[in-house]
């Protein structure tokens, strides 16, 4: 293996153009599952924004280990990874599922529509779960207040709709996301009341909520109330 791709060793020269080229070439030339994983880890560790489109490519390679490493790398790139993620081919289902996880981890508002869509309609519970968590964690501080309110409303509506999801783990994620959202609502008006009602419904066993979902919703309600004191 090329000495530049030894994992975990930081080499400043990787950040010049040639270093990146070599890392990209290692990913594209990988001839085994292990080689793809280690070269993806190295590319992800580079922290170079130019790596984003290649990491997005890896999401479509049907190699879960490498995809996890690519998602980690994309989350590390934060906003610099978003455009590449949004340009992803919507037909490639596997890649899209990983992209949802990356966007959920990044929390950039440009991912809002994709996360709302994934939470409402993705067939895989693991993707809906990640999307729910992401909707609770969008970074809004830079936006003007009215825009923040609009986006929070959109997140709230999507999460409340998903509180009736068929899978417990998605409802669990909704409870976590609603708690995160509560601290960011500006007033204690109608939206907050709707949010609390959503958590209270998850704290009941009416819809077959298992104990773990009820416990998590109750914990969220307690923490929200403590934050008011």
């Amino acid at each position: 293996m090329d000495e530049c791709t030894a994992a975990g060793i930081h080499r400043p020269e990787q950040n010049d153009g040639r270093g990146l080229e070599r890392l990209v070439a290692a990913v594209r030339g990988a001839d085994s599952s292990e080689a793809l994983l280690s070269s993806t880890e190295d590319l992800a560790a580079s922290g170079d924004p130019e790596a984003a489109p290649v990491l997005v490519e890896v999401l479509g390679f049907n190699n879960p280990g490498a995809a996890v490493a690519a998602v980690d790398g994309l989350i590390r790139l934060q906003g610099a990874a978003v455009e590449a993620l949004l340009q992803l081919d919507a037909e490639n289902y596997g890649a899209r599922a990983w992209a949802v996880r990356a966007l959920a981890g990044i929390g950039d508002v440009r991912g809002l529509e994709l996360l709302v869509d994934a939470l409402g309609s993705d067939v895989a519970a693991s993707v809906r779960r990640a999307a729910a968590k992401g909707l609770g964690n969008l970074q809004l501080a830079q936006l003007p207040a009215p825009e923040q309110e609009r986006i929070l409303q959109r997140c709230l509506q999507a999460l409340l709709a998903a509180s009736a999801d068929g899978e417990w783990v998605v409802r669990y994620a909704v409870a976590v996301a609603l708690e995160a959202l509560a601290s960011r609502l500006q007033s204690r008006g109608q939206p907050l009341q709707a949010l609390l009602a959503g958590l209270r419904s998850l704290d009941g066993d009416r819809d077959g909520n298992p104990p773990v979902v009820q416990l998590r919703a109750r914990l969220a309600l307690e923490r929200i109330q403590q934050s008011w004191v």
């Binding site: 779960r129 783990v169 298992p210």
Partner: protein
């Protein structure tokens, strides 16, 4: 929608198909008719998945359970596939299904080991104490006989995994039961070791069995690590929190295991620590 797979004992429609639902009445009708076994198969699965409390569900599933015969893998959806799904569904239909425990005990003696497996799981789900003695009889010859490979197949002479897990679920922790289970902790197959350790942990609560499962979380095969995750969750073994977080497996399975630690377990680490770890894995 494609028909159910023909002859895999593990076959069941994926959970995602719940999205295109049929009504309870429709599921009952599909099970009642006898022209098309694949429809019966689906109807039986649906009633279990939805935990139907329809008054006709258990009687019809009982009929389907009787609709069995020597295995014939060439015959399309073989009838035992319907019986297997009926057994699995009955396992989910407590308390109504407690009325048909004796039928399931009969199936536990069927020559078809796939059916014995389904019956054992159902009896475990129903926590049927009457099943303990017959299950112990099936396992009594130990790993060398009950646990010997069945020639020409990947299976064992007895469906050991299901039988062991059922003993753990039923929870009758007597000396003779423990003595039957314990030798299987040294079985050559890691999945059997995992099932035995799970049962012993559920029955005795002894930390040494938890340690066996935690060690299996580092097994090189993903399939074994997944089984150990499910077994730690079923036993609610909270000391496994950190090893569960660290093991190489899908977050979905770690979350299921941690749900088990929250719901089935007690003591340290406490609930808030478990929930915080789950939040991280979403």
């Amino acid at each position: 929608m494609a028909g159910p797979p023909n002859n895999s004992p593990e076959a069941s429609p994926s959970d995602e198909q719940v999205g295109a639902p049929i009504s309870e009445a429709e599921a009952i009708e599909r099970l009642r008719q006898s022209q098309d076994p694949s429809q019966q198969y689906y109807g039986a699965w649906w009633l279990g998945r939805m935990r139907s409390q329809h008054p006709e569900a258990v009687p019809l599933l009982r009929l389907a359970l009787r609709q069995r015969r020597p295995r014939d893998l060439g015959a399309g959806v073989e009838e035992n596939a319907v019986a297997r799904n009926a057994a699995r569904a009955l396992g989910k239909l407590a308390p109504l299904a407690l009325a048909v425990v004796s039928d399931l005990l009969e199936v536990l003696e069927d020559p078809d080991d796939g059916l014995r497996e389904a019956a054992a799981r159902a009896l475990g789900d129903l926590r049927a104490q009457k099943a303990v003695a017959p299950i112990c009889r099936r396992l009594a010859s130990g790993p060398q006989q009950a646990g010997a490979p069945r020639p020409g197949t990947p299976r064992l002479m007895e469906p050991c995994e299901a039988l062991l897990e059922a003993l753990g679920s039923i929870g009758l922790a007597t000396e003779p039961v423990l003595a039957v289970v314990e030798p299987f902790v040294d079985h050559e197959r890691p999945l059997i070791r995992s099932a035995a350790a799970r049962a012993l942990l559920q029955l005795s609560g002894e930390a040494r069995w938890g340690a066996v499962l935690v060690n299996l979380l580092e097994h090189p095969q993903l399939q074994v690590r997944r089984a150990a995750l499910m077994d730690l969750g079923a036993a609610g073994w909270r000391p496994a929190l950190e090893p569960i977080r660290r093991t190489l497996a899908e977050n979905s399975l770690k979350l299921m295991a941690l749900r088990g630690l929250v719901e089935q377990g007690s003591g340290e680490p406490s609930q808030p620590a478990l929930l915080a770890c789950m939040d991280e894995l979403l």
